[in-house]
Amino acid sequence: MKAMVFSDLITARNSLGALLGITVFVAAFIAVGSGTLLVAAACMTAMVPFMYLFSISAYDEQNGWERFRLTLPISRRQVAYGRYLSMLIITGIAVIVSLLGCVALGLVADVLPAGMVAEGLMLSHADVEAILVVVMAVVLMLLFSAAFTLPLVLRFGMTRGARIVPVVLMLALSAIMVLAGSDAAAPGVQELLSGPHALIMAGAFIVMLVLYGASAWLSGRLYEHRDI
């Protein structure tokens, strides 16, 4: 699996720098426009992993790379598991970049003359807990999306998978909204949201990691029987 993760990260490496640069640039504009670091944090956390997820899957289909990769000493299951692991690594990098980016933006806002930018952008006024919650919430959303997207992409390929992913995601989100809005589920959700953030996040992360692991397991099996 190490070779597969290696392969994914090498493939992404040359475009990752540019993607990160664009992300920080876009996040800075959004932050100035919205007057808060929270949106910038969400933007910086989400953009690169999302772009990575789809671009790395698209590279698989270029020039027969997916077919050639099967000739390397990497099993099909390792291909699937490696893709999940590389997505986690990229998400981790995005979290670090996002937090560092928020600190950098906040520091810049601090040294600017008073009144030039909104107070919400300044590090001295930053709600660190809120930023962390936003970043973690985005990570949960990313993992959720990857957990639904990757089995479809690994089973059908990026071209066909890209057509199916939005449908499945919308159905999944609708199902969640219906459940959250139903009488039976609502008290539980309300209770969860009013509890301490750390506990909510920890619980959500455990659930998400279980879902992510199950998705990886499923992808491994689906990919084993795909004609490439």
Binding site: A3, N63, R67, F68, P73, I228
Partner: protein, 294 residues
């Protein structure tokens, strides 16, 4: 002699195509050429031999193990197999030096110095992005990658396609050097049959998913021949031949006919008045596949 790759009665069915009872073997110390028209089943055969597809029937052995059932053992087997498919498949975002990094991560016996040496020989700059490589340069990069992890078996699918004659000559030299080790072997699918005339020991021809013929290169290029006959000679050859009727194949060529004869010396003794040329692999394949029984 150890057989490094073997297919026995392998079949694989797709919509509109079927690989049917393919049997071939690649013993150590030999170069086996795979020829046939486009869509005949050469690449499917290679994919089956490498365990890239599950076959519907038959037996596959790659370095002594079934590549589909091998599981984790297959990774160890693939460490000893170098593959060059018909395109430079590395992601376009990679540079030449990234390919070396990939090799180092994937192969236990990756020889970085050998890769650099081959890249220098092929004039592949380390900083060059894969997307900027011509088809020929891309194939050279793939070949350098395949050779740098010290494989025991090389599987080449149209590896010399797109190379200029000088580069092809260079690649064939490298393949000859590779074969200096007694336990090495090459399975090489190609449309450039002159490459096989230079390095192959055996030629396997696949047509419509079946083996059309499997012969040593000597049987084709040294023993077989093309008899340049007049139309009037046709009946005489058919009736006088020591071979059973229908065993010879012929093809109309303008006013005359070309007859593919398995033993040009024996034919020459029987018909001294009919000129017989040596057969090239291409001649042999063309008449064997497109010709009609005499």
């Amino acid at each position: 002699m150890d057989v490094l790759m073997r297919a026995v009665d392998v079949s694989k069915r797709y919509d509109g195509f079927m690989l049917d009872d393919i049997s071939l073997s690649v013993p150590a110390g030999t170069v086996v050429g795979l020829v046939g028209s486009n869509g005949s089943g050469k690449t499917t055969t290679i994919k089956a031999l490498l365990g890239m597809i599950e076959v519907d029937g038959g037996i596959i052995e790659l370095l002594g193990c079934d590549p589909v059932a091998a599981g984790a053992q297959l990774d160890a087997v693939k460490q000893r197999v170098g593959v060059v498919l018909d395109t430079c498949a590395f992601p376009v975002t990679m540079r030449v030096r990234d390919v070396a990094t990939l090799g180092r991560g994937a192969y236990a016996h990756w020889d970085g110095a050998r890769f650099v040496q081959l890249c220098e020989r092929f004039e592949l700059a380390a900083k060059k992005p894969v997307k900027d490589l011509s088809r020929g340069m891309g194939m050279k990069l793939t070949l350098a990658f395949a050779l740098a992890h010290q494989p025991q078996v090389l599987v080449l699918d149209e590896a010399t396609a797109g190379l200029d004659p000088l580069a092809r000559e260079e690649v064939l030299d490298i393949l000859c050097s590779f074969m200096e080790e007694q336990d090495h072997a090459i399975l090489m699918s190609t449309h450039i049959t002159t490459d096989l005339e230079r390095i192959a020991d055996e030629v396997v021809c696949i047509a419509d998913g079946r083996i059309a013929f499997r012969l040593s290169k000597e049987a084709i290029c040294d023993e077989a021949g093309i008899a340049r006959c007049r139309a009037a000679d046709k009946e005489r050859i058919a009736s006088a031949s020591v071979l059973p009727r229908g065993a010879l194949r012929m093809m109309q060529r303008g006013m005359g006919i070309d007859v593919l004869v398995p033993d040009r010396f024996a034919f020459g003794r029987t018909f001294p008045d009919i000129p017989v040329d040596r057969a090239s692999i291409e001649d042999y394949m063309t008449i064997a596949l497109k010709g009609e029984a005499l």
